[in-house]
Amino acid sequence: MPASDTAVRAPAPPDTLKILIAGGFGVGKTTLVGSVSEIAPLRTEESLTAAGLDVDDLDGIEEKRTTTVALDFGRITISDDLVLYLFGTPGQQRFWFMWNDLALGALGAVVLVDVRRPKVSFAAIDFFERRRIPFVVAVNGFHGEHPYPVEDIRDALALPEHVPVVLCDARERESCRDVLVVLLDQLIASAERTEARV
């Protein structure tokens, strides 16, 4: 087939990856996605199910196994052939068990913590820890202020040493980019350890 025939064809589809942005309600997830995304955050509805849960995860949930949840997401084009999507997970605590579907196939996660209300992000931390999904904790200072040192926050959240904690401002592009770079550094370090073992 002559080259002129193929020239108008659609480009080859890129490889795609995703990272989850989790944390309690109102901690700045959508703000962070908007800060680093090359497009304004998009919103879509997804039916998520409670399949594959531990029995105790279903406490308090009667017969309903599927709920429609609104997801915010953004996009970062890494290269012509690689695109990264960021998905803000539904923040309301009673829906945290639905993150199972979302977490499938994710590279890792950022758990955002509002420095004034760390408790609302406990469920997210617990979720990724229990499923051994790599994550970093990003502390959103809200007024750009960080009254507590990282080590105090690590203690308050009972985070193990291997989970990075970084201070950030969800409104600042560079700050959010740095959070994602820390997550990737953690993934790379862990991949290198795996390689060294084999």
Partner: protein
């Protein structure tokens, strides 16, 4: 950013009757995708030119085809067409069966980590 969705509307759980009537009519009453291989970040691309002898697509299918002349992720399609992902997936199944689109699954990330890929993502992010 004025288009930012409000936090209050974040979860619209419960009874999907009423509000979802129109979308599910589009899919002929089916409410479950027949294929699990359309994830949120699966990319779909319209086949151009369409296969010989292809039937003229339904208007809603045509809307999808127009939006995926270039590769686009399922989540983006759903957002742009303002339809739930589950509805988009059902229509994508139809289009895939009819040979009107191709679908590319996301990059596999479970199993042995791909250092080269991770480094590429890291470098891309650092350039932002």
């Amino acid at each position: 950013m004025s288009s930012r969705p409000s936090a209050a509307s974040e979860v619209s759980g419960g009874d999907p009757a009423g509000r979802l009537v129109r979308p599910f009519t589009l899919t002929g009453g089916r409410t479950r995708p027949s294929r699990a291989d359309f994830t949120l970040i699966t990319t779909v691309t319209a086949v151009d030119p369409p296969p010989a002898g292809a039937a003229r697509p339904q208007p809603e299918h045509l809307r999808i085809l127009r939006h995926c002349a270039r590769p686009v992720a399922v989540a983006e399609l759903a957002a742009h067409l303002d339809l739930p992902v589950s509805v988009i997936v059902i229509m994508l199944c139809d289009l895939l069966e009819a040979g009107r689109i191709t679908a590319r699954p996301p990059r596999e990330v479970s199993g042995v980590p791909d250092l080269e890929l991770l480094q590429k993502v890291r470098d891309g992010l650092a350039r932002l």
